[in-house]
């Protein structure tokens, strides 16, 4: 954190005298009253639209009947969780989901940062602006179209990638016919599509770094590489860590639509994840079994929470930044 400004003012009391010295907590509350005013409306929003509806989560423990309503539905305890955990492929599905998520997180983490750092050193101008705009656009291409493009590129017969491979003397590879390639295809096409959008936050963070630091470094004779390592990287580390923690909290929610579109009978062992499993079970039982899917959602959330706590703890140890 760029805290090199030296102002010689001593840390001292604010200029507002407080007669009430009884309750230190009360004092603190009153002192930051304006901050509470700021927080008031967002807090209200949170309560009304996020916390109040949480009573609905209890249907994970009930047999929800639309007619009986949430309160009137029968209590069944852990029935839905047991059903899920006992399902034939549970372990494999859980494993696939975790592996895919970890892979996605790990691969997706460095590239937006690298891109932002890279762009930072381009000369200001049309080229730089053009690149930023182009890389940001693919994010908006719909999943269906994107998967279509990926399939076309990887087609063993007509796809660009295989044409290049063959031109270089290699054999054509049937990418989608190989179960072990599924996760890589998924992850790298994700990185490819979203890197431009995801790097925006880092560009903004870099823009917030005091240029005086760079000036000083140049004067000291530091090369660009060193400046990047010593100034830029630490400058965005806090936000990178925070994003990492936040992403961990969403880990098991790996994109279901995209997985579904890339699945085929051959890669199914590697590609079935929790959300696609729930979707398919729900398809043939078209009464929306809210209870079951809520229970599974709860299951995922708890795992997400545990992962988030672990990563946050680790982040706290590094003293850089953490959620709390």
């Amino acid at each position: 954190m760029p805290a090199n400004h030296s102002t010689a003012v001593p840390v001292g009391e604010t200029s507002k005298p407080r007669p009430d010295r009884r309750h230190p907590v009360f004092r603190k509350l009153v002192r930051s009253w304006q901050l509470y005013v700021f927080m008031a409306v967002p807090f209200l929003y949170l309560m009304i639209f996020k916390y109040y509806p949480m009573y609905g989560a209890q249907i994970a423990f009930k047999d929800y009947s639309v007619v009986k309503g949430i309160a009137g539905s029968d209590w069944v305890g852990w029935k839905h969780f047991i059903r899920f955990v006992n399902s034939y492929d549970f372990m494999r599905i859980l494993k696939n989901t975790l592996l895919l998520s970890f892979y996605n997180l790990a691969a997706g983490f460095p590239f937006p940062i690298l891109l932002a750092l890279s762009l930072n050193y381009l000369r200001e101008g049309l080229y730089k602006k053009g690149i930023q705009m182009v890389t940001y656009a693919p994010h908006f291409i719909s999943i269906v179209v994107m998967v279509g493009i990926v399939k076309e590129l990887l087609d063993p017969r007509t796809g660009l990638i295989n044409k290049v491979l063959q031109a270089l003397g290699f054999q054509a590879i049937n990418f989608l016919g190989d179960a072990s390639m599924f996760k890589s295809i998924y992850v790298w096409s994700d990185v490819w599509q979203h890197v431009g959008f995801n790097c925006i936050i880092f560009i903004a963070a870099l823009a917030g770094i005091d240029p005086a630091q760079h000036e000083a470094a140049v004067v000291d004779g530091a090369s660009k590489l060193r400046r990047m390592w010593h100034i830029d990287l630490p400058g965005i580390m806090p936000i990178a860590i925070i994003l990492l923690i936040l992403n961990t909290g969403q880990m098991l929610d790996v994109g279901f639509e995209k997985v579904l579109l890339l699945q085929n009978p051959i890669n199914l062992t590697a590609s079935e994840v929790i959300d696609t499993y729930v979707y398919k079970v729900g398809l043939s039982a078209s009464v929306a079994n809210y209870s079951y899917s809520t229970a599974i959602g709860l299951f995922k959330s708890i795992i997400n929470l545990i992962l988030l706590l672990i990563v946050n703890k680790a982040a706290q140890k590094t003293n850089q930044a953490s959620l709390w």
Partner: protein, 560 residues
């Protein structure tokens, strides 16, 4: 339960006969009778009579949006209907993408409309909400007012039992749309010009088919000097509810054992059965593996999607696809496409396997249930029912689907031939537009049996309908299985649904996966067959069959 209702039926009939007599005498004096139904609720006129109510009644209808219909509110057919029946429809249009959610939300906490139309209320939902009283049972209304509904039941006998739930009630009306060529979906399409080029006859057995594929591969039928021909390809079925029968085993397996794409059927003992544990299936897999091993089957047939298959067939310039399965030639080419290849792919009649098995799948149940539900919030359920019943009338159905008689369609003159080569019933004169406002474009209850659809006047400029009819009739109908072997649409209880859903998902995916592995040779058929059967047993195949059997028995009892 059924015995009692026969007596009730007699009583009802007698009563309605009496009512009819009374009403036709009473003429316009029906307002007094109306008070017995509650304030302001109109009495409904007798069965078959219009207008339905003396004064305008309003019915709130929730329906799915239809991109082909500009605005139901101002639609010409709506206006015609309202004038005829004196029933005003208050529309609530739901975006097509949110039909399922909207349905559930409405049932959960929104206010119910009078009628839910064209929102695909599933059999499970019908049972669930019907039994809870949210959806009204329609049996009595059908009895009392269902003039056209009864005619429909008489002409298409399978409909009534298909829409009756296990407790004997009908909670939702269907929109039967019999598509003759769709009733036999597992076809194979082969590129005729290549057969001609190489002087080959249409194969009749699996061995001949294999030889033809070999000829395609080695004799360069597209004449470009390169061995770029792909003799046989396909695309796996997207999921258990898909009807796009492009998977490599969909057609060919039926030469070894009966293999409907739904993977479930009724065997000779009248029991629920599945095809994928039979010896015939094993032999079929060996045959397919043979095709794969000899390079006659495109490896991508096991991984690509339907779009890629069409791309294969529509390869720009030189044709490269020899044969593939599908419900019609749109699976391998673009209908009315500029390449014209869709006319050159012709159907292959079911092949005779080494043991003489020669079958094709049959689906006589094209009922499209769940299209019209009357809810407990309806202020005048009789009027709502009569509205639906009216639409089953042939002329109303034609108006609903095509528009104005004389302008958008007309009854066929004598001598004009229909798709089935016999005297046609009607002629379609409407063009295909993006959006129109003259008709409802298939929304709502309407009745299009084979007698109507095949009675569409054949159009020489548009031969598709005739072609499909002929291909199906001549090549497939002789081999189709008996209707008694076909699993009818069933109504499951919630517990049954849950259990079956879990088991089905696991088993279905496993079978698909093993198919792919056996065919590619990744798993050895002889060596691993027992393992495969054992795994299926582990996945509780027996329990699956058992639950299915219970549901089947319950449905059959209710229907008899």
């Amino acid at each position: 339960m059924k015995k009692r209702s026969v007596g009730a039926l007699m009583l009802c009939l007698a009563m309605s006969a009496g009512l009819l007599a009374a009403c036709s005498n009473a003429g316009n004096n029906e307002k007094e009778a109306g008070s017995s139904q509650g304030d302001g609720v109109q009495t409904v006129s007798a069965a078959g009579e219009f207008p339905i109510t003396e004064e305008k009644t309003t019915i709130r209808v929730m329906t799915s949006a239809n991109a082909a219909v500009e605005d139901f509110r101002t639609n010409e057919f709506t206006a015609y209907l309202e004038e005829l029946t004196n029933v005003h429809i208050e529309w609530e249009i739901v975006p097509a993408s949110s039909v399922a959610e909207k349905l559930n939300l409405t049932l959960a906490g929104g206010d119910l409309p009078d009628v839910i139309m064209s929102m695909n209320v599933s059999p499970e939902q019908q049972v669930l909400y019907g039994q809870q009283g949210i959806f009204l049972p329609l049996n009595d209304y059908i009895e009392q007012y269902g003039v056209n509904t009864k005619k429909m039941f008489a002409e298409s006998p399978l409909v009534e039992s298909a829409i009756t739930t296990t407790d004997g009630n009908i909670y939702a009306l269907p929109a039967p749309n019999e598509c003759y060529h769709c009733s036999m979906r597992q076809k194979m399409w082969i590129y005729q010009p290549w057969l001609d080029e190489l002087g080959l006859d249409m194969p009749k057995t699996t061995e001949e088919f294999r030889e033809v594929l070999m000829a395609f591969k080695t004799q360069d039928p597209n004449g470009n000097g390169q061995a770029d021909e792909i003799p046989f390809s396909g695309a796996p079925m997207a999921n258990a509810s898909s009807t796009l029968t492009t998977s490599v085993e969909n057609f060919l397996m039926n030469s070894f054992t009966y293999a409907p794409y739904t993977r479930v059927y009724i065997n000779e003992d009248g029991k629920v059965d599945v095809p994928y544990n039979k010896d015939g299936w094993k032999e079929g897999l060996k045959y397919l593996h043979g095709l794969y091993a000899d390079g006659l089957m495109d490896p991508q047939a096991l991984t690509q999607d339907a779009n890629q298959l069409v791309q294969l067939g529509e390869n720009p310039g030189t044709p490269i696809l020899g044969a593939a399965s599908g419900p019609n030639m749109s699976a391998v080419s673009q209908l009315n496409g500029s390449s014209g290849r869709w006319l050159e792919y012709v159907a292959v009649p079911p092949l005779a396997g080494p043991d003489g098995v020669q079958l094709t799948q049959y689906d006589p149940y094209q009922v499209a249930g769940g299209q019209f539900v009357i809810t407990s919030a309806a202020s005048n359920p009789e009027a709502a029912f009569r509205l639906a019943d009216a639409l089953y009338d042939r002329e109303m159905t034609l108006r609903l689907n095509f528009g104005e008689p004389g302008v958008d369609w007309e009854y066929a003159e004598d001598g004009v031939l229909g798709l089935n080569g016999e005297q046609a019933v009607y002629k379609d004169k409407s063009g295909f537009g993006v959006t129109q406002n003259k008709h409802w474009s298939q929304t709502g209850p309407n009745y299009r049996p084979n007698s109507l659809r095949l009675g569409e006047a054949a159009d020489p400029d548009n031969p598709l309908g005739t072609i499909l009819y002929n291909e199906t009739k001549e090549k497939y109908e002789p081999y189709r299985v008996d209707a008694s072997m076909v699993m009818p649409p069933l109504f499951f209880t919630t517990e049954q649904t849950e259990e079956i859903a879990d088991l089905q998902k696991t088993i279905y995916d496993y079978v698909s996966e093993m198919n792919a592995r056996f065919i590619t040779g990744n798993a050895n058929i002889d060596g691993e067959w027992d393992n495969y059967l054992a795994t299926l047993a582990n996945m509780n195949l027996d329990r699956y069959l058992q639950v299915y059997q219970e549901a089947y028995d319950a449905n059959m009892d209710a229907a008899s």
